[in-house]
Symmetry: C2
Subunit: 204 residues, 2 copies
DNA sequence: ATCGTTCTTGATAGATCGCTCTAGCGATAG
DNA sequence: CTATCGCTAGAGCGATCTATCAAGAACGAT
């Protein structure tokens, strides 16, 4: 498996976080064991407690923050690459749908499964997920505000976007269909379009 | 243990399903042990395997179907009690927000946590969640169609409603705030209003 | 009263969980 | 060389998990 070419292999800690992120996202927090993570990361078990003295919980928190930040950058990139926010929204939902299909409906939101699991059972992890969501809201609000939408509606639009995206992920993974992502994306695009005046009325 | 009051106590099987529903909803599927369920249900451990020979998985499937059907009736009741669909949507989201606050942000969607957990790891349970979601879509589509919306947009509106609701639950539980439910509810109400002509433009 | 069925009961098996612990490797400093 | 330090390495602990099993209680039918 490992083989071990000396060239450019990520550090043990990075491999653990990466493997943890992938497994938590697909199977949830309680559904993923540390032994499974180190096996996937091709790392020794003891290294987990070397890098994360706080154990599984600390690893979970780091995974949440790391993959949350990465997903935020994905959103920002989509918005910046698009000619206007409405197109940006459409592209982002379309990209999410593509990823979902390509991974067999496994890779959706990197933290949603964990977030629901820990919301009422693990306060430190709940806070980590809250910080990520808050960061995304700030990010989106800024992006829409930069396009000329007022601060208040920009924030509302961002929250609606995130809710529609997360919920569409839930439905899409369960139904094994991209229809929810398409409907949600079109709905959010239409609302963004309305808030921008109406340079692009969409076909919704 | 059991004893007691001969008067009107639910059957052992019912108590197990009820306790399982509450715990799965709050802690997820893998995060809830059978022992915890029978303790909460005040039932003997062996009874689980008497009523559910298929074990935890069969219990999970029954819980999903039972609480999924109950939640569907809740939606239908809200829509039928309201004078028009737009008000019905608003009332439904407002009721969900109230329940969430009253339970300390614990009781949101009865099956969403489990749905995300099992979507890529347990095919029978994934199918159970898919059937529930499909049932809700059918229900909502019929309700909106009855109010005069065409079949195709009624289905799209229902999917957007469910996605917005589920996603708002994710954000609300993590952030411990009802803001996502309010924004999502208003957004869906506005879309419903637009599809109905515009008897109720909302304040969105 | 005797049987058969349904349901209750909890001890226990076997596997896996998160976590601790000690030993050792390899590179760098004195 | 020896010493130190960051990291690797995995055996093993107690707890907990799902699941099985055998025995007994409750109850209707005959």
């Amino acid at each position: 498996m490992n083989a071990g070419p000396a060239t450019g292999r990520p550090s043990t800690k990075e491999r653990i976080v990466t493997a943890g992120a992938e497994l938590f996202r697909r199977q949830g927090y309680t559904g993923t064991g540390l032994k499974q993570i180190v096996a996937a990361a091709d790392a020794p078990f003891g290294s987990v407690y070397h890098f994360f003295p706080g154990g599984k919980e600390q690893l979970g928190a780091e995974v949440v923050r790391t993959s949350g930040a990465a997903y935020g950058r994905l959103f920002t990139a989509a918005m910046e690459a698009a000619p206007d926010p409405v197109t940006g929204v459409r592209d982002f939902f379309a990209g999410a749908a593509r990823t979902l299909v390509e991974t067999g409906y496994a890779d959706a939101c990197p933290i949603a499964t964990l977030a629901l699991e820990v919301a009422s059972t693990n306060e430190p992890l709940r806070q980590a997920t809250a910080e990520v969501f808050t960061g995304w809201i700030t990010l989106g609000t800024a992006a829409f505000a930069a396009a000329g939408i007022g601060a208040r509606p920009a924030r509302e639009l961002t929250i609606v976007l995130l809710a529609a995206l997360e919920g569409a992920f839930v439905l899409a993974r369960a139904l094994r269909s991209t229809e929810p992502l398409e409907a949600a994306g079109e709905s959010v695009a239409a609302r963004a379009s309305a808030l921008l005046g109406s340079p692009d009325a969409g076909r919704g």
